[in-house]
Amino acid sequence: MTVSPDLDRRFREAAAAEHLLDLGFDVVESPIGPLLVAATERGVARIYFDADPELHLERLARAYGPRVLRSPVLVDAARRQLDEYFAGSRSSFELDIDLRDAAPFAKQVLGELSRVPYGQTTTYGTLAAKVGAPRAARAVGTVMNRNPIPIVLPCHRVVGSNGSLTGYAGGLDVKERLLRLEGALL
């Protein structure tokens, strides 16, 4: 006895409509490969470049609660805006984000990061100075490295003080591609 896709979809929609989920997730296709996007009712919580849910579900359940379900509805807004971003028709994201489990320093840095404009780059040191910790460039690098919502929180726009791309969770080729898409690299 197999549950039909239609019955499955109706249950998942009802679960979200009744506000019963701690977290919903879905795979979003993109030109840089499939992305796993996870969102709560407060907003987008995670974007992973490794899109296999099995790699992340246990950890997400520990962080947000056990009621974690694949839920296209909860990630719809993010999916639409990511599509537009990759199509070149969106230069800033208008999404609520849920950073409830981020440490205060990380929250502050990620908040500052979200203000780095499309098509521009900044440096770890500049970002550190902006949060009032000019000597904390390395700590800022760690926050970038662990950015829970890459692309939407544009850590790809942060480069080394000599202009080198340094590193990126999705791989340096992805970082380069995103900067090229935004016209920040020729």
Binding site: M1, A15, L21, L57, P66, R67, V68
Partner: protein
């Protein structure tokens, strides 16, 4: 060995049990009514899920929710015919009201078998499904559970 692991992410629980639950509901309600009951079963499970203390016996748990819905829908349709057996019946089955307060003391498998058989009136085929065992093993678990309960009750009276 019993593990007292935390419940898995709901997605895992749902994917693992959705086909079994739908099969059970179809046998009891027919294809059409089973679809509504399917959704309601997992919504109820979801409502209670963050209060589960551990991840043991989840299959029996979700089939118990489904069986409860089957009974409720039977009640609505035919208020008399599907009442729970509250009185002892001819085949020697105990009335559930007689044993309910004692069932908590049973080992988990016997407890599940007793509750599914006498509280929810499941057939041994379905209990076997719930317990991931055979109908014969389910029958034995239920009957040894009942024996244990009767012995316990007598013991209670004596002490």
């Amino acid at each position: 060995m019993h593990t007292m692991a935390t419940p898995p992410p709901f997605e895992h629980f749902y994917v693992e049990h959705r086909d079994i639950v739908l099969g059970f509901l179809r046998r009891r309600l027919g294809a059409q009514a089973a679809e509504d009951a399917f959704q309601e079963t997992f919504l109820r499970a979801l409502r209670a899920y963050d209060r589960l203390q551990h991840g043991d016996h989840l299959r029996a748990w979700v089939l118990t929710i489904a069986a409860r819905l089957v009974i409720d829908s039977g009640r609505r349709a035919r208020p008399v015919a599907h009442e729970l057996p509250e009185l002892p019946v001819e085949d020697g089955r105990p009335a559930y009201a007689e044993i309910e307060h004692l069932a908590d003391r049973l080992p988990p498998t016997e407890r599940a078998a007793v509750v599914l058989r006498y509280a929810y009136d499941l057939a041994y085929d379905d209990i076997a499904l719930a317990l991931d065992s055979t109908p014969e093993a389910a029958r034995q678990a239920a009957s040894s559970g009942v024996r244990r309960l009767r012995a316990g009750r007598i013991h209670d009276r004596l002490t």
